[in-house]
Subunit: 253 residues, 2 copies
């Protein structure tokens, strides 16, 4: 669905940067970005790119060559105003690396505000490469035209996350055993509240975890239909109906 | 989300077969399935598997070893009644192979009844491996617990498909430029009708294609939020809201 006429500057390479952004500001591109701009995209001095930092919106910037492997970015004018991030945490059981990369990218495309890895009883992966999750998230937010880079939390046991849960935040628990219910009806009641979506591992949740979750006042179990979805499919599917019912899919662009 | 207690027999290997299924029937497993059962899963004579053919529901069957590379499947008893396929065609622009494999698997998990590859103006892939799509679809329907293998249509130009369109079937056109609208509201009006979902290529639709589609009486454009979704993300997202509003996600299991 990527469209060249998506917005007036979408042909531009988008770069997520740390620097503050304002007209006339200039800052050095980091090593990897400089290498990408100069040696992969082969951009010349004066080439336009789009930069964003999650705070000041998206800006047109020009490449100023400083050497074979280094360049500066000179901020010209704002292209888009900053929009607030949606307020949807995405809780997921870590998967094996390839599917995890994919799932992180998808969650960013779907507009989550935080990635919260949780270890469940049937979680198979037990280590997480935070740096790799961060790179996948940055690549996805640059590609999908988003303005906000989701926060990536440290992996914890599900139980620990639930113990410190903020009471007002609604946790949508994607529970394959709840398939009979109407997910939209349940989600409508949550619209306007801070939300979180919990997707289990390929091994599913244990009965103990299910009982524990269903006893919590802030938990809303929803089903995702009669078929068994893989965790990465379930992530996109659940986030799609949450965004459509209670998220930013109704606000337009 | 795969759960061991998903249904009483979900620990069983599921096999899609061509043969008619009824108690007491026996038939030879095809070469690949026999090899998988005997040399990959190392099943012994009398081992249980689940078989389904899209017509007679799902049945418990036992492996009868006929040789090192061949076995028969003896049908014991029905595990699940046949359910009709949903009636959602999935129209998609072919992607490069890896993402196409992925997208076919996802569409099957999401319960489409037909896979309809369409060439659009910005479609990059120009050849399609039907056999590979078929294998991906079979693998996905075996894995997701579905009972129906989607029909895989021959790839055609979008224009040709639209010219022969059955008037009563509603085509949900996923149009990134329609992002401002409420997709759920639009889909509710289609509930109960035969449906189809059209996802564009990574290059998006051309303005000419957009105008053409929006002029057709059976087309309903919907947006998928403010971010640019990759085609495979858009497929799962769009099918999720269609199934949730107007499909089989409300029927339970």
């Amino acid at each position: 669905m990527e469209s060249p006429d998506k917005n007036n500057c979408s042909r531009l390479q988008r770069l997520f940067v740390e620097a503050d952004l304002a007209s006339g500001k200039a800052f050095p591109a980091d090593k990897d970005q400089a290498n990408y701009l100069l040696n992969v995209l082969r951009l010349k001095a004066g080439a336009n790119v789009a930069v964003f930092n999650g705070r000041h919106g998206e800006w047109l910037a020009q490449v100023e060559i400083a050497g074979k492997r280094s360049c500066a970015l000179c901020v010209v004018r704002q292209i888009r105003e900053q929009t607030g991030p949606g307020d949807i945490w995405y809780l997921f059981a870590p998967l094996k690396q390839a599917r995890l990369d994919y799932m992180v990218q998808k969650a960013v495309e779907m507009g989550v505000s935080a990635l919260v890895p949780v270890f469940t009883q049937h979680t198979q992966a037990n280590r997480l490469n935070d740096q790799r999750m961060q790179s996948n998230a940055i690549e996805a937010v640059e590609q999908c035209g988003g303005l906000n880079l989701p926060e990536i939390r440290e992996a914890q046991k599900l139980e620990a996350v639930l113990e410190r849960w903020p009471a007002e935040r609604q946790l949508v628990f994607c529970d394959e055993t709840a398939a009979g219910d109407d997910p939209l009806h349940r989600l409508k009641e949550l619209a306007g509240k801070p939300m979180a979506v919990l997707i289990g591992p390929e091994g599913g949740f244990s009965s103990a975890e299910r009982e524990r979750l269903n006893r919590l006042p802030f938990v809303t179990p929803i089903g995702l239909g009669p078929r068994i979805l893989r965790a990465d499919t379930a992530a996109v599917a659940a986030l799609a109906i949450v965004q459509a019912v209670a998220g930013d899919w109704q606000n337009g662009r």
